[in-house]
Structures are given as C-alpha cells and as structure tokens.
C-alpha cells in the first residue's frame, strides 16, 4: 500500500489527532475531517500550526486533528484574545481558531467582534449548530426565530447572524458553509488559511443529539433542503500554476495575498461580487428573508493590512528577541535616568 505524501513530505496521517469523543454523526466531526484534508493538501507544517479554541463540543475538536501541533483549549468565549496574543508573540504561527455558536455569539461576542475589527491574521471557524451541545441543548443566539427546541420550546428572538456581523465590522474574509458540504468547504478552508487577515467561516454543523429534529433549522434535513450555494469554489495554491479553464464570465478569480487563488464558479443566475460589502450584506439578508441558507464566500478583501502589519511588528517573531533587542542600551538607560534628575 503506497502512501501519498504532500508537498512537504507528510502523509495524511500526520494531520490526524486523537480519537474524537464527540457523538457519532456530529457535524463537528465532519468539519474536523475536512480540516485534516485541507491542511494535508495545503502542506501546512504542523509545527507552525497553533490550534486555538474556547469551550464546547466544537471547541474540543482541535484535539482531533494534527496531533503534533500545539493547541490551546482556553476558557469559554475567550478564544479570540488568546489567539490574538499568540499571534502577537509569533507572527509566523498559522493560527486556527475553532469555536461554537454559544462560544462566539453569546459569551464571546465582544471578543469575536474586536478580533475582526483588528483584522488579526487567523482562521476563525464557528461550528454552528444553533444550540449548546456540551451543556445539553439550550438555544444559542444563532437559533432562528420559530426554531423549536428538542423539548418543544419555540425561539422568539432574532438570531445573531455571525456573517452579517463580520461583514459590517469590515471582516476581510467571510464565508458560510455546511459541515456536510466538503466539496465547498475544503477549498474555502484552504483559502481562509491562505488569506492574510481574519477569515471567518460560519459553518452550519448539526448537533445530532440535541438539534437534529423536526422544527430545527440546523438539522441535516433542513440544511439539505435549504442550502443555497452561491458559488462552486476551487482553490489553487500559490505553488501551483493557475490553469483556469472555464468559460469567460462564469467564474470570479480571487487572488489572495500569498499568491494563491480562489476560483469561484458561478451557480444559477446570481452573480455575486465577493469584494462588494453591500452586496454581501444583501445576499445574506435576501437569504434570511426567503428562508434559505446562503453558503459560499460572501466577502473578501485580500489586501487589507492585518493586525501585525498595522502594529508594525518586525519580521522576526517578538518572542525570539533577546536582551540585546529588548533592553535599552546602557546609554539609553543613562539618558532616561538623567532626564528624571
């Protein structure tokens, strides 16, 4: 049996993690698998990866991929701050955050928004099941109006649409997808990782135990019936040649900062321009109105400056700097002292 190695010579197995402890059939497990595929195919160096998360079933998943990478399972809703700090310390890290809808849209909403505002270079995945899986099925703030809890309660509060929030805050890469749609999700994940700046992926990921019943709008059934993909994406990494072979006018080509391309093939009539913020908001809002789950790359701004750049951090990771780089020289120190005299 021959094992296929990726461009850095690693087998797919090198991207696996511990065995999952999630429920069989949980959408989160599918996302883990899609992530493994994306990271393997991209040839991400495991030691450069930092897997960050909050608390929840979703937040457990970083333990289930790329075992040899560092990971940090923090506290509930506060992954963004930890992620920001880690990236400040070492801007070479490929920072990948995994969160849940409870983790992000309730307790973590403020941090989520401020992370986006800073355009921190990271991938931020929300495994969105409309419920609190780990605490056994309470509504989360992404549950739709009219959606029914397992014990029968009906939600009457407007959901917080995380993509809308991300777009209005100037998020520079905003996509929605579905855990069951690997064909769409894997290229989006690759592009998110390649993107310089914050990449937010709101991925509907059914909770089979607490939110997969009739009346839920986050069930497999519902999503399969209501998903409306706006594009068919393909990812071409910077180290491969672009060989686009589509009919003109049928695709949009997004060139990412590192030279990779995300080629979006048009589906249906809708011709969504993913660099148009207002259009992005409209496509989501239209979906909301018609009860569809619009998926695909909603918005991207590939060349916006990321946090480290705006903060003028040096090329060399801050944490690698030593006494000589960091201490005032004796002369400078004496200067300060004499100013204080």
């Amino acid at each position: 049996m021959s094992v296929t190695l990726n461009r850095i010579g690693l087998a797919r197995d090198a991207y696996k993690g511990a065995a999952t402890t999630l429920c069989a059939g949980c959408g989160h497990n599918s996302i883990t698998n899609h992530l493994i595929k994306a990271l393997y195919e991209l040839g991400v160096e495991p030691h450069r990866l930092a897997k960050m998360s909050g608390i929840g079933c979703s937040s457990k998943t970083p333990a289930y991929f790329v075992d040899s990478a560092h990971g940090f399972n923090g506290v509930h809703g506060r992954m963004p701050a930890l992620t920001t700090g880690a990236k400040l310390a070492d801007r070479d890290l490929i920072v990948l955050g995994v969160s849940g809808d409870g983790d992000t849209a309730s307790i973590g909403l403020g941090q989520f928004m401020h992370l986006i505002r800073r355009n921190l270079d990271c991938t931020y995945i929300v495994e969105d099941n409309g419920t609190y899986g780990l605490t056994k099925g309470q509504f989360s703030a992404t549950a739709d109006v009219g959606s029914v809890q397992k014990r029968g309660t009906v939600n009457t509060y407007e959901p917080i649409d995380l993509c809308t929030v991300a777009i209005t805050l100037g998020g520079t890469f905003v996509a929605r997808s579905f855990s069951g749609d690997g064909k769409q999700l894997v290229p989006l994940l690759k592009a998110a990782i390649a993107h310089r700046g914050v990449a937010v992926l709101d991925i509907v990921s059914p909770c089979v135990t607490f939110n997969d019943h009739e009346g839920s709008t986050k069930s497999y059934e519902w999503v399969k019936e209501h998903e409306e993909a706006i594009q068919d994406p393909s990812f071409i990494p910077y180290y491969e040649e672009v060989q686009v072979d589509y009919e003109p006018g049928t695709t949009t080509d997004v060139r990412l900062h590192d030279g990779s391309h995300l080629v979006l093939r048009k589906l249906h009539e809708l011709d969504h321009d993913p660099t148009d913020r207002a259009a992005a908001l409209k496509v989501v809002e239209d979906g909301r109105r018609t009860g569809q789950l619009v998926t695909g790359l909603l918005y991207v701004s590939p060349e916006a400056e990321d946090f480290s750049t705006r903060e003028k951090l040096p090329e060399q990771p801050l944490r690698d700097l030593g006494e000589d780089d960091l201490r005032l020289t004796r002369g400078q120190f004496a200067e300060v002292m004499s100013e204080l005299a």
């Binding site: 940090f72 963004p80 801050l318 004796r330």
Partner: protein, 601 residues
C-alpha cells in the same frame, strides 16, 4: 515672630482640577528639589476631569521623609468651595496664602494670612487671554517663592524642567511668577516661621520618578514584548509609559518596526487573555489594571495558573469595593489577588514598597513568571504608582533573562520523546515546556484548563488530578524562596512592625518618632507572597508584632496568622487605615503607643 522653622513643612495647594495648577505645583516642587531639599509630592485629585476640588501637597523635610503628613503648614487656597475646610485643616502657625476675595472674618486667629487678589492680578497683569486661567496659578508660585525664600534661579530651573518639551512656555510663565513676586514685595510681609534654606548632600544624584513610570521601565528592561491593557485609573499610565518609551527605544529608526506590541484591548478579560496567549506562545507578556479589572480577570487567571502559562499582571490598587474611590489609594486587593479565581488557586504576588522596587520587581517578574510558568502579580498602589518619589537612579541589569525550563527542538530530539509537559523531572514542581513553532514532531502538546495528566493528555482521573494539584503546591513551595525576601531591620526590640508596599515610608518615620519617645520598634517588610519562613522567625523573635496596612479587613494580618505556627499567632495585632489617603506616620505611632502604653513624648 517665632523662631524660624527651616525646611520642615508640608505645602498644600487647594485648587480646582482642570485649572492648570498642576504645572505650578510641579515647578515649585522642582525648585525646592533644586535647592537640595528633599521633597515628597502627593497629588490628591478627584475622579473627574474639570471643576472638582484637587489638592497638591509637597512634604519637605531635612530627613527626606516621604510619607504623607496631614495638616499643612503652608496653604495656597484657590478653591472657594473648599476654602473653609482647607483653612480648618492647617496647623497653628501656618502660612495661608489665599485669594483676597475670600473672607477671613471670624476665621482662625492662630495662622498667618497672606491675601492675594489673584483674579484681579491675572486680569490686569497678564496679557495672554488664552492662558490667563492657567497663568493665574503661576502667580502663586511667585508668592510662595517669596514667602519661603525660594531663589529665583531655583524657580527658573523648575520652569525649565517642567516645560522641558516646550521651552517657549518658560518666559511667559516666568512673567506670571514675577507678578506674584512683585505683589509680595509691594504688599505683603513675612509673618510666619516657615522657610526654606538650601541644603547640601541630601538630594545629590537623586531622581524623581513615578512608580508606574519605573514599572514601565522595568517591563522594558525585563524584555516585555506584549503589553495589552485597558484604561483604568490609576494603572493607565503604566502602559502609557511603556508605549512612550517603546516609541523611543523599541522602534527601528530605519524600518519603523516596533519590537513590542502595546495593545489597547476591548476590556480587561481580553487584555489578560491576550497576555496569556502571548505568554503561551513564548513572549514575555503583561497587563496592568486596577481593582475592577482584577475582578474581571479572575477566570483567565485561573486558566493561567492551572494550565501553567507565564504572565505578569500589575494591579495598581485603588480603593474599592466596586468602583469605590477611583483616585484614592489602598492596599485592599491583597487577599483577593492571592487566591484569584475559583477552586484551589494561589499566586505569586510581588509587593514593591518603593519606586526602585516598582522598577526591579517589574523587571524580575518576567523571570519569575517564566521560571514558574504561572501568573505573577505585582501589587502597587495609586500613591506609589502615580506620585513622584525621590530615589537613586536605577541600576542597569547585569543578568540575562531567565526564560525558565523551555525545551527547544534540539533538546526534544535529545530526549527522544521522553518528555511530558507536566512531568516533574526535577522534583521542584516546575516542569518543562515547549513553545508553539518548535520545529520538532514531538514538541507539540495540547494546553487546556481542564483535567490533564503528566503528558498533557485530557483526563478525568481523580488521581491524576490530585497528583497535578499536589505538584502545583510543590511548585508554589519552590517559589516561596525565589520571590523577593522580606527586608528585616531588627535591633533586638521585643516590639515590631510588619508592613508591605507603600506604607514603608510611614513605618520608617513612625519608628523614628517612637525611638525619639524611647520605644525601639523592629521592622519586617514583606515583599512578596507566599510569605517567607523569615516572617515566622521574625515573629518568634518578637513579643508583640503590629501588622500595618491600608485596608479594612486586615488582609496581610490574616495571611500572616495563617502562615504562623499556632503558638505565635497571638503575638500579632492589626493596625489598619482605610480612608483612601496614604497612611501618615502618626496613624502608626498612635495605636502602638496606646497599645504599648508608653506615654507619648
């Protein structure tokens, strides 16, 4: 006129905040300092931007006492709202410079009045319309200079020093000072006994620095590369100083690159979270806050304790509970910080008592955090942090950074995989960590705030949990002797004081006073938690030990009681002051004299 009282007074200016009196006070203070006379300035300001009463005190003493002394001997009264109370507060024989319009009818007769028509003078003698309100304050500098015999050159020096950044302001202000001098010469005459005479050898080579400024320098010298913070009085200036110094000393002049990230976070939870993320990834990271922020940092602190992530947290204490008095000082966070967060948590807490320690403890806190892979708190306070203090210039560090037990790729390779993040290889409770980005397939591990075993694997095993918690206790015990030791000054007296932090000044002064009264009092100054064995020894060597602190509940007193073997507990008494003002010496002498029943001299 009584005998002159030389170089021993407290000056107080009572003004309205936002009116520009800060400059005047600074000029006066620098002028006196220039005369070679020790100064101890204290700014007593409201939680407000403009329009509320504010006071500035300069304590002057030949001995260089730096504790607050209430009841000034020289008052400049420029706030009608507090005029009555201000006047009531001065000592008999005081010099009271006041706006001439304020009534002194039926006022105290045991003080000397120097009425000055400030508003009138400002209107007629100061041309600059825009700056008139501010320059009015410079007039009192002139009056006070004459009143106390401060030479013009000293005032000029003070002006130059204060307006270092905008030298153009010097002559305009000097003119206003002269208005005051002229008014004195033409209208007033010295009546009170207080004056200043230049001194030698008392202030030579000393600098004046704020604790937060000193701590900022300490952070930079300690190699801090990530500072994330959220504004709050009285801690804001610490990170603002870091920013200012970093702009000067951490920026590559060619590329503009900055060898530090100073980030204003969205709140305190995020501020600490960022610092922990950075500490985890190997940076030397800090945050700085005050009471309310500490409360908000409880959850993340517990994570850093349990997941063993180095981070430095400054708490510049103000008086709580809750918002409390945001611009008043306190030592009220000690107990809360020591076991901040739910569950069994205990933290290393450094307790600087001087601006020098603000500098050196800040610097060394990063070493301690790295060595013990845990949050290290530095508890300062508003008095120490925001006031200027005389001190010797700080020493340049001669030691390299101590990054603690970090394994790089080569080390991991050598261990051939025989490595576990939480294995206590050395028996000191401190284990080896790797940093993200370490290029070795065995370097990675998963950090979490939930149960984990020696190899950082998730576990719910009660045994593994207890083993880990016991190791954390062991680590804490190792740290006990690594944190700054207490400073002991014992002369064999049976009576002693234990204190920590900024009360040191009042304690030292109280000891002199008590000694003058025939009572020698030994002194141990706690400089860190956990408490050292030296504290036990000290108490054993003394019959009666007074624990002095600035909080209601006697928090250090309690910690020491828990620390002592039971037979020594009864030796302790508690002396507390909690009115938001730095404790004065007599708040220590008085209760000690009472309890010792020695008649006051």
């Amino acid at each position: 006129m009584s005998d002159p009282i030389v170089n021993d007074l407290t000056f107080q200016a009572a003004t309205v905040n936002g009116s520009g009196s800060q400059s005047s006070n600074s000029v006066l203070m620098r002028a006196i300092f220039k005369m070679g006379i020790p100064v101890a300035p204290k700014n007593i300001f409201p939680s407000n931007i403009e329009g509320l009463p504010t006071w500035f005190q300069i304590r002057v003493s030949p001995e260089g006492y730096m504790a607050r002394k209430g009841d000034p001997e020289v008052l400049v009264a420029l706030n009608p709202a507090t005029w009555a109370a201000d006047l009531k507060g001065v000592r008999p024989g005081a010099a009271v410079v006041h706006e001439a319009a304020y009534s002194t009818a039926n006022a105290r007769e045991d003080v000397f009045y120097y009425p000055v028509p400030f508003t009138q003078l400002a209107k007629t003698k100061i041309d600059n319309d825009k700056l008139r309100k501010q320059l009015l304050n410079m007039i009192y500098v002139g009056v006070v200079a004459k009143l106390l015999d401060i030479p013009l050159e000293a005032i000029e020096h003070g002006l130059k020093r204060h307006f270092q950044a905008k030298p153009k302001a010097v002559p305009i202000n000097l003119d206003a000072v002269k208005v005051g001098m002229d008014y004195w010469d033409e209208n007033l005459q010295k009546q009170d006994a207080h004056r200043l005479v230049p001194m030698q050898g008392k202030t030579d080579g000393l600098i004046l620095v704020e604790g937060n400024q000193a701590a900022a320098l300490g952070c930079l010298m300690g190699g801090c590369t990530v500072a994330s913070w959220y504004p709050i009085t009285p801690s804001s200036s610490l990170c603002e100083y870091i920013g200012t110094y970093a702009d000067r000393f951490r920026v590559d002049p060619e590329t503009g690159e900055k060898r530090i990230a100073v980030v204003q976070a969205e709140d305190e939870l995020a501020a600490l979270g960022m610092a922990i993320g950075a500490g985890w990834a190997g940076a030397r990271a800090m945050t700085s806050t005050s009471g309310p922020g500490i409360s908000l940092m409880a959850e993340f602190t517990g994570l850093a304790y349990y997941a063993e992530v180095p981070v430095v947290i400054f708490d510049i204490q103000r008086i709580g509970p809750s918002t409390g008095l945001p611009t008043r000082t306190s030592q009220g966070d000690l107990a809360f910080v020591y076991n901040l967060s739910h569950g069994d948590t205990k933290h290393l807490v450094l307790l600087p008592g001087t601006v020098e320690e603000c500098y050196s403890f800040a610097r060394d806190a990063f070493d301690l955090a790295d060595r013990f892979q845990t949050p290290v708190f530095v508890l300062s306070d508003l008095d120490l942090g925001m006031n200027l203090w005389m001190t010797k210039p700080f020493e340049y560090p001669e030691q390299p950074f101590d990054r603690g037990k970090v394994l790089d790729a080569a080390a991991i390779e050598k261990l051939q995989g025989d490595w576990g993040r939480y294995r206590d290889v050395d028996g000191d409770g401190v284990t080896y960590r790797t940093l993200p980005g370490t290029d070795h397939p065995l370097a990675g591990y998963f950090t979490r705030g939930s149960g984990h075993d020696e190899d950082a694997r998730y576990t719910e095993s009660g045994e593994a949990y207890a083993r880990n918690m016991d190791r954390l206790t062991r680590k804490f015990e190792t740290a006990r002797s690594a944190v700054p030791a207490p400073i002991v000054d014992a002369k064999g007296s049976p009576v002693a004081v234990i204190a920590f932090g900024s009360t040191v000044n009042a304690v030292e002064e109280a000891r002199v006073r008590l000694r003058e009264g025939g009572l020698e009092v030994d002194f141990l100054r706690v400089r860190a938690l956990p408490l050292s064995k030296a504290v036990t020894d000290f108490v054993r060597d003394h019959e009666r030990v007074y624990v002095v602190e600035m909080n209601r509940d006697g928090q250090l007193y309690d910690l020491i009681r828990l620390h002592l073997p039971s037979d020594l507990v009864g030796r302790l008494s508690s002396i507390r002051r909690y009115d938001g003002q730095p404790i004065p010496a007599d708040a220590i002498t008085r209760p000690i004299l009472e309890l010792e029943a020695v008649p006051a001299s």
